[in-house]
């Protein structure tokens, strides 16, 4: 019986068909070696001895499989590959270094337990994304499969990807800058995309649509789309069933051309994805507020902060004063300027803080292009800083604002980027951020941002997020220095909980840290 995902060669596999399936796979393996134009890769010493479980589906004569090509390629890289079938229990992942789930699997029979496997998973089975918690469950909205027969023009469109996070290790290894690139060779074939949760790191998108992620990852400890925590690294890749051999690569004279190298990166992205998945993730940040505060105080010594506020603000004046005092107490030299002051005072500063007492209107676009790190407390100013799009209450806004917001006042944030130092060691999930429910700012950054916290029940409304220097912001603007949204309504600094203040310490420390740290 074929599933509705027959395009992905996903007929249900029963024990009675197992022998036939494996025999078919062998034939396909040999068949691939006959017909698949993919040069064998050179062994990678870093991968030698690593074990991979490759889950595949039943061969389908209507949809050619490249599973054998994938297997051969992984083996050529030096990996030890064990073939498994799609209905194999997740216990098969035990002892493996990586689970690869092919697009040929029947998503209906892939055990949900793989979601909890503490082993990295790399997959290009888009219908399995929800099973793994990588995306939501709605086809066409949360994920989709682009088949030439159904989406002919779109399948051509998806021969072109766009890199939105050139700083991601996968993009870096593949040599992919922020640009359009060739995903697959010039033959329309099956591709897929997903719309992962805010904690995912999206490397490449299709059609210029940030909600169509062709290549994305979740770091270990990041919150998955459904709120569960990724037990190990996860990668979603844009392949279909039988087009691994079409992943772009370049040889001969063209390989000398840097532009060609950066264009034909499909196979390099695949290899880099394998490398990244197999690389041990960074140690999670420790939950040690005192140590964090001490580290910040140590880092603050000799550093300068420009604090931009509305001087004598009718609301939030004391909070600004306390904020400044706190920074000075840490050891920063703080200069306070009015929102209306001409730009220029940021010269020589190590950090610019934009208080929520600032009027977005009066800031009139200042500071957006400065080369100093910025910590912005005002979500409404996110567009002017190119941290979010232009539509108020679509791209940025506030919860609890009595005139404009339909959302209630809020005091909690939802930590989704627990893996990152900006999360200060807090576990994923809700955390009391301010003492009493109040106005909380949000914005929806590009996929180039690192999202740490969202507003509760609003995963696209991000409260704490940062752009690393060099990452891609709105309008393809490249961040000249670190940019961070840390939401504080006018009086909210005084309302921060202890946990909120720990997050504040982590935010400041990240802003003044060396890019990449």
């Amino acid at each position: 019986m074929k599933s509705s995902f027959s395009a992905f060669n996903s007929s249900a596999m029963t024990s009675s068909t197992l022998v036939r399936a494996l025999a078919g796979l062998s034939a396909l393996a040999a068949g691939f070696l006959l017909l698949s134009p993919r040069a064998l890769a050179a062994p990678d010493p870093a991968l030698a001895g690593k074990k991979v479980l490759l889950l595949v589906g039943e061969p389908d004569e209507d949809h050619p499989s490249d599973d054998a090509a994938v297997q051969a390629h992984l083996q050529a890289l030096g990996l030890t590959v064990t073939l498994g079938k799609d209905e194999d229990p997740a216990s098969r992942a035990a002892g493996q270094d990586l689970v690869v789930i092919s697009g040929t699997v029947n998503p209906y029979v892939v055990p949900h337990a793989y979601k909890h496997a503490a082993v990295p998973v790399l997959t290009w089975s888009a219908p399995t994304y929800p099973t793994l918690g990588l995306t939501g469950r709605l086809r066409h909205k949360d994920f989709d499969i682009i088949e030439p027969t159904q989406h002919f023009a779109q399948s051509f469109t998806d021969l072109y990807g766009y890199c939105v996070d050139p700083l991601h290790p996968i993009a870096r290894e593949a040599g992919l800058p922020s640009q359009m690139f060739g995903t697959l060779y010039l033959q329309p074939s099956v591709t897929c995309w997903g719309r992962p949760g805010p904690a995912a790191q999206v490397i490449a998108i299709f059609e210029g649509d940030p909600n169509k992620a062709g290549l994305f990852t979740y770091e270990k400890g990041a919150s998955l789309s459904d709120g569960a925590v990724a037990p190990a690294r996860r990668v979603g890749f844009f392949l279909g069933t039988g087009n691994f051999h079409l992943l772009t690569a370049v040889h001969g004279p063209a390989a000398r051309d840097p532009a060609a190298q950066a264009w034909y990166v499909g196979l390099k992205l695949f290899d880099a994805s394998v490398h990244w998945a197999l690389t041990p993730p960074p140690a999670p940040p420790p939950a040690a507020p005192a140590a964090l505060h001490a580290a910040l105080a140590q880092a603050a010594a000799g550093k300068k902060v420009l604090f931009v506020e509305r001087i004598d603000s009718p609301e939030g004046k004391e909070a600004d004063e306390h904020n400044v005092a706190y920074l000075r107490g840490l050891g920063f030299t703080v200069t306070v300027v009015d929102q209306d002051a001409p730009q220029g005072a940021e010269a020589g500063q190590d950090l610019v803080v934009l208080s929520a007492t600032c009027s977005k209107y009066k800031l009139n676009g200042k500071y957006g292009k400065i080369t100093q790190p910025i910590m912005c407390h005002e979500g409404l100013a996110a567009d002017g800083l190119k941290m979010a799009g232009w539509k108020r209450y679509v791209d940025y806004g506030e919860h609890g604002e009595e005139k404009e917001s339909e959302d209630p006042e809020e005091s909690y944030l939802d930590i989704v980027g627990a893996w990152h130092p900006l999360a200060a060691g807090f576990k994923a999930g809700p955390i009391a951020f301010i003492k009493e429910p109040g106005t909380l700012k949000w914005a929806t950054p590009t996929r180039g941002a690192i999202v740490i916290a969202t507003l509760p029940y609003a995963p696209e409304q991000c409260a704490i997020f940062g752009y690393e220097r060099g990452s891609v912001m709105v309008d393809d603007y490249v961040a000249p220095a670190r940019r961070l949204l840390f939401p504080l309504d006018n009086p909210a600094f005084d309302d921060l909980t202890e946990n909120g203040l720990v997050l504040y310490d982590a935010a400041v420390l990240w802003c003044i840290g060396a890019p990449g740290s």
Binding site: A27, L33, P37, A39, L40, A42, A249, A255, R256, Y264
Partner: protein, 340 residues
């Protein structure tokens, strides 16, 4: 150039599997056998001596056949021998340059190139290539150069078209077998033992890099579609990788029959043997084992296997006659004439 042991192992696996599967796939593709692309319409018997190369001057209706130590000139329509060009010791490659009124042979027997007058058949000069065992030759009108692939020494000899004299040598490496020019700056040379295409700049003569032809092994015959920028590589393991000449990327592989040694690309409008609209183009590959495979161009990015025909074993060269649409196959003792 040595290969890592694991790489050699993988290649060995590939070769073994290809040997098993290649003919099975070919047979499967024949299961619903379409109408054959060609039928035998004539034989041009030749005097003693095995044919080693064939080329046609379609406008002059002359067929040139390398045979032993000479070149026989035949009437392309009747097969009658109308002349002989000698000496051409161990001739392996033939190239005609009607625009220059010149023909050239690559003579493996004494490592020379024979230059002859196309109208008179007279030998103009014979020059040493400076390499070992020249087996293929190609005239690039745009660069005004003649390139000779030296099989044993793994290098190219470059002759000036105006003088016929050797001006340069380009070391490439490997066992060279065939070469084609795209007419706008690049020369592609097969290296059988390396399973790559060497790419050479026809102006600077710089070796620009290699295009791998995997999973093809043992590339021999080579043809080009200059407009489509596609290279068709007949490989000894029965595969024809189709290479995007710009990116050096093998984007399709079709089964043709093992031991394929000659290939031609025909872009002229050809009838469809199955009926229907004419094909955009076709590619023909002949193997020494006696298979003529016909591939169909569906689009610049898509080709399909159409059929294969049994021909006598020992094919060493192919020529396409654009005037008649016929294919001329160089067999050991005759030219086999195939027509639609």
């Amino acid at each position: 150039m040595s290969e890592p042991a694991s790489f050699r192992f993988c290649l060995a696996v590939v070769r073994r599997r290809l040997a098993v599967v290649g003919w099975a796939a070919l047979a499967a593709s024949l299961a619903g056998a379409p109408a054959p692309s060609y039928r035998v319409v004539g034989h041009y018997p030749l005097p003693e001596g095995a044919c080693s190369a064939v080329a046609i001057d379609a406008a002059a209706r002359r067929l040139y056949v390398g045979q032993g130590n000479l070149v026989r000139v035949l009437n392309a329509d009747t097969g009658a021998v109308v002349g002989t060009i000698a000496p051409a010791p161990g001739v392996q490659g033939l190239e005609l340059a009607p625009g220059l009124n010149r023909g050239f042979t690559a003579n493996a027997g004494d490592d020379t190139v024979t230059e002859f007058d196309l109208k008179s058949g007279a030998v103009v000069q014979t020059v040493k290539t400076g390499g070992k065992s020249p087996v293929a030759i190609c005239y690039d009108a745009e660069a005004r150069r003649i390139f000779v692939a030296n099989r044993a020494s793994g290098d190219l000899s470059v002759l000036a078209a105006d003088t016929g004299l050797v001006t340069d040598h380009v070391p490439l490496g490997g066992t060279l077998r065939a070469l084609v020019s795209n007419g706008y700056g690049s020369l592609f040379v097969t290296a059988e033992d390396l399973s790559v295409l060497h790419v050479v700049d026809t102006h600077t003569l710089a070796a620009l890099g290699d295009d791998p032809v995997a999973p093809g092994v043992g590339p021999g015959g080579l043809a080009i579609d200059p407009a489509g920028r596609r290279l068709f590589v007949a490989c000894a393991n029965g595969l024809m990788p189709i290479v995007d000449g710009d990116a050096g990327f093998v984007f399709q592989v079709l089964p043709i029959g093992s031991g394929s040694s000659a290939v031609v690309f025909d872009r002229s409008k050809q009838a469809n043997p199955d009926g229907g609209p004419p094909w955009k183009a076709r590619i023909l590959a002949a193997s020494e084992q006696g298979v003529l495979a016909a591939l169909r161009m569906n689009a610049f990015i898509n080709y399909s296997f159409h059929d294969r025909s049994a021909i006598p074993a020992g094919a060493r060269g192919l020529a396409f006659d654009p005037k008649t649409g016929r294919v001329l196959v160089a067999l050991p003792h005759e030219i086999l004439v195939l027509g639609l």
